[in-house]
Amino acid sequence: MHLSAHLWLPFHDFVFMRRALIGGLVLACSTAPLGVFLILRRMSLIGDAVAHGILPGAALGFWFAGLSLPALTIGGLGAGLSMAGLAAWITRRTGLREDASLAAIYPISLAAGVLILGLAGKRLDLLHLLFGSALAVDQTTLTGMLWVSGFSLIAMALIYKPLLLDTLDPLFLQTVSCLGPLAHGVFLTLVVLNLVIGFQAIGALMVVGLMMLPAIASRFWSRRLPVLIAVSAVLGCLSVWLGLLLSFYYSLPSGPAIVLVAGAGYLLSVVFGPVHGLLRRPPLLSSQ
């Protein structure tokens, strides 16, 4: 059999692999601009905090309603948004730096999530919640992922310009427009929404990797924002595809496989990337 057949056959033969692939690809596309903007806004840690924050909410949803998509999603969304909100509120009221509040919130969320799962009687596997499984993407989840991705891509296109200015020069945007806080709020909601819908497919902790790793890696390839977003989406899609194949052929958990491929992409970018990469040609003296 040809190599190319190996690259495609699992998705042709198995419906669950096809669903996982499609879900992963749309997720990679919609998280790409979110990850790039998170880095530009120096909010890289927010993703982690929110992903941990989702756990207690999803666990509560599971406890009360069992393994149902709406319950897990609503629980995760509520908990994720309140964790992000709590961190922002503590930061604003105390003047302490936000990373400190975020770092304080992860362990609380994680511990609360594990505790609630324990109380719920361990019917839901913790490892499954944290690291996901390609098998988990049923038709309902896939439909949810398609809706979320479509919605967040459209919403990002609408807030792109104010969000860009709010990131680069918030003082300037504040003097010409009142859209800054709105763009920020919509952006954060999209981040939480994508993490929540993604955690059911590749796990709460792994979906952050899919959001951040391609975005960080893309900075080694271009200095233009639209290109960064495109590179990040392509890297994300490649990671999903190769990661799912690895997990299929070597019986690996799908979430970690996808994230490790993305991690390899990041390390390759660090070395070979033309913009900041280690092997880039030294800048010409005349251009300095």
Partner: protein, 222 residues
């Protein structure tokens, strides 16, 4: 016109100066001087509506949004931000209505005015401090606001750049706009502005530049 009534500003509980009462006439050109940490930049931010005053209020004859343009100090900009000089300058069109043809003509004219032609596609990272400063000034030129607040516009500019900047400030002034300029170079402020506000923690002094600032000794360059 900008009016400050019993204005106090600074960190909560620690106003930087006694309450300030001040009226800057429409079409005036005012310098703001004072030592580091006396609150010049903060005053400008309070006037621009970017920072809340501790007490008192600021009023002006035009709406803040669209009526006022603020040039912040450049160090808060992320120099690694993946954007080109042209995109940065074109942000000045925000809230204005032009056809795309008018936009590109105005953009070219403004880039030309600030000696930035040829640098349109440079990423921020590859700009010198002076080029970035001129780009921010160019962005301000696009806004057409009747009130202009400039926080150390000459910082990072070389001698030619500073001359260019003062030239534009005078052009804006002669168009009847109201300008407030924070500047550390006392000799230039004395020479170029009509009136100054000197900010001190014992109380602010407002008066004609020539009276408030003594002639500065000329620096001799060997």
């Amino acid at each position: 016109m900008i009016t400050c009534n019993a204005l106090r500003w600074g960190a909560p509980g620690q106003p930087l100066t006694p309450a300030l009462d001040l009226t800057l006439e429409k079409g005036s050109l005012t310098g703001i001087i004072g030592a580091n940490g006396t609150g010049k930049s903060s005053l400008l931010k309070v006037i621009a509506g970017l920072q809340k005053p501790l007490s008192g209020k600021v009023s002006m004859d035009v709406p803040r949004r669209g009526g006022l343009s603020f040039l912040p100090q450049q160090q808060h900009l992320d120099r690694q931000f993946p954007i080109s000089l042209q995109e940065l300058v074109a942000a000045g069109f925000w809230g204005t209505r032009h056809t795309s043809e008018e936009r590109s003509q105005r953009l070219q004219a403004v880039l030309n005015d600030w000696c930035l032609s040829g640098l349109e596609h440079r990423p921020l990272m590859a700009l010198s401090g002076g080029e970035l400063q001129r780009a921010l000034l160019a962005r301000m030129s696009l806004a057409d606001a009747p009130i202009l607040l400039l926080d150390e516009p000459h910082a990072a500019l070389d001698e030619d750049g500073q001359a260019l900047c003062w030239q534009h400030i005078h052009a804006w002034h002669s168009e009847g706009r109201t300008l407030v300029v924070v500047c550390h170079d006392l000799a230039s402020v004395r020479y170029h502005t009509q009136q100054v506000v000197q900010i001190k923690n014992t109380g602010c002094v407002f008066g004609p530049s020539k009276a408030l600032i003594r002639p500065q000794p000329q620096m001799q360059v060997a």
